[in-house]
């Protein structure tokens, strides 16, 4: 299929663009295979380059022969195009509709994108499992890297290499995999250096209604316990949801078969409910009524903040078990690809200072989300405005980012990155020129040969100028475990995403610049003073006479 067939009118003159906080621009609208472009053809006016993939929904309106297309983007921005000529407008609208909902992976923009910047370090090679394992090896000898999944046959959503207890052989792993949802047998997620405790994650056990058991699965997870110590299983579902799962062949670990484990149920909602929550939240933010009661009741009814609180609470619990109780933890929900990953990755943000650096956070996203098989493509194919019936869409990763933002806001000096980094990741999960978030698992990405055919987001992020832009000026490395408050009054609406296009952030940006300025000036002075100190010290050694006046 050629894109040209889909574009009936590639160019319209005299189109007026209206968008938040920027002056209206009049210019020429062009449609290409992947972009909607508006150019005023004047040097100093900003152009609009919008990826079709970023378009969530459009609306058309006509007044006489003047058509208007309202474009609602996945990053929650809403822009308006006034197009003279009814036919042009209809053509443009129908092209956008088709181009923004192309299903074929082979037509996706990352496969066509050629970087305009020099790739210093190939992001596809930045966070390989074998490198991550080297760090682990330096801390403990109790774990090994298994290639039991090297052809993705044991678990289609796992990477080829996973870390498992040293004493457990691949055969046991295969059998345990058969007992876990999607073949997701328990694997290492995090090793807590301070006390040697670990966090593992998996899919639900397939106990079914008649209480099947699997000796190999029991052996596998018991191998992570110290003698005489109990571990915790955190099931991200409520007891009743977990019970219901039995009827569909799933279930949870019974006390009888897992006597060394204490099971705790939390209540993180499933993806369809989260998607609905996002839609309601965005609608609340767009409410024009200016009534405080209405805003607060819509905010409450969206339940978004409830989800944030629930996820953070579960993550704190996992972190507490490991750090405070000195116990190992296994986390799972149903599939083990959504709420499970929210909990394991946030617990690591709390426990491990390395995850709060720019590189470390990328490694965390790579390890706990991309390699761990979060189905990004399914979850992020639609956002809050889409009219089409949701299939597997859900803001699971966005909720994770929101939770990170909450912790970042509570501990503004403990993160090397600013919220810009989180917003950037949010944008790129929904529409991107980079291949990083394409596909639903390592296996899919490898089949598409993305590491050869596309550029990695990390290649872009890790250039010095981008690192600089994403850095948090207040950062001071600390090696502490940070315990966020999950009290409702401590959790705020993430303005940087949800109000980003609603209220001007000019004054807040100015404050940020001022902060950067204060800190930079301080550093400059330190350098100057240090130089002078050194010179002075030299003078003193050269002229010892001066020391005894």
């Amino acid at each position: 299929m050629e894109f040209a067939e889909l574009i009936k009118t590639p160019r319209v003159d005299g189109v007026v663009l209206r968008r938040p906080f920027l002056p209206t621009v009049e210019g020429t609208l062009c449609l290409t295979g992947h972009h909607l472009i508006l150019s005023s053809r004047q040097d100093n006016t900003e152009e609009l380059w919008l990826l079709h993939a970023n378009i969530d929904a459009i609306e058309k309106r006509f007044v006489g022969s003047l058509g208007t297309i309202i474009v609602k983007c996945k990053d929650l921005r809403v822009i308006q195009l006034d197009i003279p000529g009814m036919e042009e407008c209809l053509n443009i609208a129908s092209s956008i509709e088709v181009l923004s909902t192309l299903d074929s992976v082979s037509l996706m923009y990352p496969l066509f994108y050629r970087p305009m910047f020099q790739v210093i370090e190939d992001g596809w090679k930045s966070f390989l499992p074998e490198d991550a394992f080297k760090d682990l090896e330096s801390m403990t000898e109790e774990w090994r890297l298994s290639d039991v999944n090297k052809d993705y046959s044991v678990c289609s959503s796992y990477p080829p290499l996973v870390a498992v207890p040293k004493d457990v052989d691949d055969d046991t792993l295969r059998k345990a995999a058969a007992f876990r949802h999607g073949g997701r047998f328990p694997v290492l997620s995090y090793y807590h250096k301070k006390n040697g405790m670990v966090m593992m994650r998996s899919g639900q056990p397939l106990t079914g209604t008649n209480g099947r058991r699997c000796k190999e699965d029991e052996k596998l997870i018991n191998a992570t316990l110290r003698a005489g110590k109990r571990g915790y299983i955190i099931d991200t579902r409520t007891v009743s949801v977990a019970q219901q799962a039995k009827a569909r062949g799933g279930g949870f670990e019974s006390e009888a078969n897992y006597p060394q484990w204490r099971r705790i149920h939390k209540a993180i909602e499933r993806s369809s409910i989260l998607q609905e929550s996002l839609i309601k939240l965005v609608e609340a933010c767009n409410d024009q009524s200016h009534s405080m009661d209405r805003w607060l009741s819509k905010l409450e009814a969206s339940n978004w903040q409830t989800h944030v609180k629930e996820i953070l609470t579960s993550a704190c619990l996992a972190a507490q078990c490991i750090d405070r109780e000195g116990a190992s933890v296994l986390v799972h929900g149903t599939e083990g690809t959504d709420s499970t990953l929210q909990v394991t990755s946030l617990a690591q943000i709390i426990l491990d200072p390395a995850c709060r650096t720019i590189q470390g956070f990328q490694a965390l996203v790579e390890r706990e989300w991309l390699q761990a098989g979060h189905p990004f493509q399914q979850r992020c194919s639609q956002s809050a405005y889409s009219n089409s019936k949701p299939r597997c869409e859900a803001p699971v990763f966005l909720l994770f980012l929101d939770c990170v933002w909450q912790i970042l806001r509570q501990f503004p000096c403990s993160f090397q990155f600013s919220q810009h980094f989180l917003v950037l990741l949010f944008e790129h999960t929904y529409a991107s020129q980079f291949g990083t978030f394409m596909g639903n698992s390592a296996s899919e990405r490898s089949k598409l040969n993305l590491s050869q055919k596309t550029v990695s987001l990390w290649s872009w992020v890790n250039r010095p100028q981008e690192v600089e832009r994403l850095s948090n000026p207040l950062y001071e490395a600390n090696c502490l475990v940070i315990w966020p408050s999950v009290a409702p009054q401590s959790l705020l609406l993430w303005e940087g995403v949800f109000l980003r296009w609603k209220r001007s952030s000019r004054c807040l940006d100015e404050a940020y610049d001022e902060m950067v300025h204060i800190i930079q000036y301080n550093k400059e002075l330190q350098n100057k003073v240090n130089n002078l100190r050194r010179q002075l010290a030299q003078l003193e050694t050269e002229e010892p006479l001066l020391q005894t006046p």
Binding site: C285, H290, M292, D293, R294, W295, L296, S297, L299, E300, N303, Q305, T306, K309, Q410, F411, P412, C413, S414, L474, E476, N478, L480, I482, W483, S485, A487, P488, Q489, S490, L491, L492, L493, L499, K502, R503, S504, C507, L508, E510, A511, E514, M515, I518, I519, Y521, N522, L525, Q526, K528, V529, N530, L532, R533, Q535, L536, L539, E540, L546, P549
Partner: protein
């Protein structure tokens, strides 16, 4: 001292509500002014002080086997929970505190430093000069003049003795207008905008009923309009909901009839009355004291309290007035019922929006001194300084301070002071530690002789200004210039955690950018000094012994130990 039945109780536990198991054991003392808890642990000996006048209530839940609990709620939303071994002692402490917190004779401001030097005290009262602030605004001038009408508080005993009125307002007009206004609170100037020559005037409601009118009062409003050359109308802002204003007509009060007053545009804003506000704040403070509320409970409670809606209404009133004055160049007359609560809020918020000076520490002090203290805001009644009518109590100035805080969240570089300054102001409005906020009017304060018997808060705050400074403030920043135009869409308002939820503990201790930046700026200043020292020395290459010494001491603070300079993690005794 006859109120203190038990001056000292041993083996008391101070319970941390967030971590009940981590109680501190110590001794409780009752002094004439404070309840003091001293921890037994000889290493830390943490002290917790609660000023008697800050005590809002003392609850004693049923006695448990381990002893009697006392829950002390302070007027600034803090909670101290004590466990006293003997029920008898607990009852005594409760009874003593109930008396002590209400006793005028023991008010802290009257007992603090009674022997301090007289000049010092007098100087403290001359720290702020209201007349100088009017001069800064350009008043008096050829449009607005000072009138002696209220000397000895003859026309209005709740107004200041010095008033500014339109030049064309004759004494009969002033007196006549005053007679037609509730409690004699006639329209007078509170703020003059030099660029547009528009003014903000304030008064109480007219005694119009259904048909009454006063020629003098109509002339007064006409004179106000004429004092703004080039404008052909004024706004009369009635800050009440229209329904309330109409209800007042039955009582012979009400609002201006647009048929009788030529050239006015009447505008209702809809700020609720003191009773609604009191209930609303009670709900907020109940909300933050919930043990483990769900997000739904919290948001529902926030909505049903109505608190943020009220804050928005006050801010909207200020925005309306500020826009009229600065953008349209139209003068505004503001009133509510008596003109000392909502009117004070609306006028002072408008001033903060209009005038960069009122966003500085000294400016805010002057603004409070003018719109609240001098114009007879009833501090003693509203903040329950003495046992009074509970129906008179209402968090009116709390709402003004919160509006300023909400603004500072939207304009982080625009204010010279930080959140702590506002919290401290709030505390002192309630504490009676200084004489500023005692009594209900200038006349009452004069009659009580407070200037002779107490100290003023302002120089004390000024002395400690380093800890109240906003590190992001720069006098030449764009946000500092001109008028503030806040966004008052509902989602721009947040619950003021720093006020209502201050006690929350955090591990590691909460990091605040404000403290950090303040520390960085302090260090920068030290570095600048050192740099100047070095540069004086460096060119000649000969260091003088004195300078060298200075450098050696400082160089212990090597840059990679920057933390060591920062006082943020240091937690000393909590004083409530």
């Amino acid at each position: 001292m006859e109120h203190i039945r038990t001056p000292k109780v041993e083996n008391v536990r101070l319970i941390d509500r967030t971590a009940p198991r981590k109680a501190m054991v110590g001794t409780l003392y009752l002094s004439a002014t404070h309840t003091i808890f001293v921890e037994n642990n000889p290493e830390t000996r943490r002290e917790t002080w609660v000023l008697h006048s800050m005590v809002a209530s003392v609850e004693r839940p049923p006695t448990t086997p381990s002893g009697s609990h006392l829950v002390v709620h302070t007027k600034n939303f803090q909670v101290v929970q004590l466990l006293i071994p003997q029920e008898r002692d607990a009852m005594d402490v409760q009874a003593s505190l109930a008396r002590l917190s209400q006793k005028y004779s023991e008010l802290y401001c009257l007992s603090i430093n009674p022997n301090a030097n007289k000049e010092e005290r007098e100087e403290s009262w001359s720290f702020l000069d209201l007349q100088a602030d009017y001069r800064r605004m350009g008043v008096p001038n050829n449009l607005w003049v000072s009138t002696p009408a209220n000397s000895e508080y003859r026309v209005c005993d709740t107004y200041p003795s010095e008033l500014f009125v339109p030049k064309s307002a004759t004494p009969p007009v002033i007196v006549g207008s005053s007679k037609f206004r509730s409690r004699g609170r006639l329209p007078v100037l509170t703020y003059f905008h030099q660029d547009t020559l528009a003014a903000i005037c304030r008064c109480s409601q007219p005694l119009s009923g259904f048909s009454a009118r006063s020629q003098e009062d109509e002339q007064m409003l006409e004179a106000i309009m004429k004092s703004n050359p080039g404008s052909d109308y004024i706004y009369v802002v009635d800050t009440r909901p229209k329904l309330n204003a109409m209800a007042n007509r039955a009582a012979g009060k009400g609002y201006e009839n647009e048929d009788h007053y030529a050239n006015i545009k009447l505008q209702f804003i809809g700020i609720e009355n003191i009773h609604v506000m009191r209930n609303s704040q009670q709900k907020i403070s109940w909300l933050v004291n919930l043990k483990t509320p769900s997000m739904g409970d919290f948001l529902w409670g926030l909505e049903s309290s109505g608190w943020l809606k009220h804050i928005k209404a006050v801010l909207d009133a200020g925005v309306f007035i500020a826009k009229a004055v600065a953008e349209e160049g139209i003068s505004v007359v503001v009133h509510c019922s008596d003109g000392w609560d909502r009117t004070a809020q609306a006028c002072s918020v408008a001033s903060v929006l209009l005038e960069p000076y009122y966003r500085t520490m000294k400016g805010l002090m002057l603004l409070i001194e003018r719109d609240w203290v001098s114009f007879g805001h009833k501090f003693s009644h509203r903040y329950n300084h003495l046992e009074g009518d509970p129906k008179e109590v209402s968090p009116v100035i709390d709402q003004f301070l919160e509006c300023v805080w909400q603004l500072s969240e939207q304009f982080p570089c625009a204010f010279e002071f930080n959140e702590r300054f506002l919290v401290q102001l709030h505390r002192h409005v309630y504490s009676c530690q200084y004489g500023n906020f005692l009594g209900n009017s200038q006349k009452e304060r004069r009659d009580m002789g407070l200037r002779e018997r107490t100290h003023s808060l302002w120089p004390q705050l000024w002395k400690d200004r380093a800890q109240y400074a906003n590190p992001l403030y720069r006098a030449d920043h764009t946000q500092t210039q001109g008028m503030l135009r806040p966004n008052t869409t509902p989602y721009c308002f947040k619950m003021w955690k720093g006020m209502y939820n201050r006690m929350e503990k955090s591990s590691p201790p909460r990091q605040t950018p404000t403290d950090l930046l303040t520390a960085v700026r302090e260090e920068t200043q030290q570095l600048e000094e050192e740099l100047t020292n070095h540069q004086e020395v460096a060119p000649g290459g000969t260091a003088q012994p004195g300078t060298k010494q200075g450098i050696q001491t400082r160089s212990r603070n090597a840059p990679n130990e920057r933390c060591s300079l920062r006082p943020i993690y240091k937690f000393i005794n909590i004083s409530l």
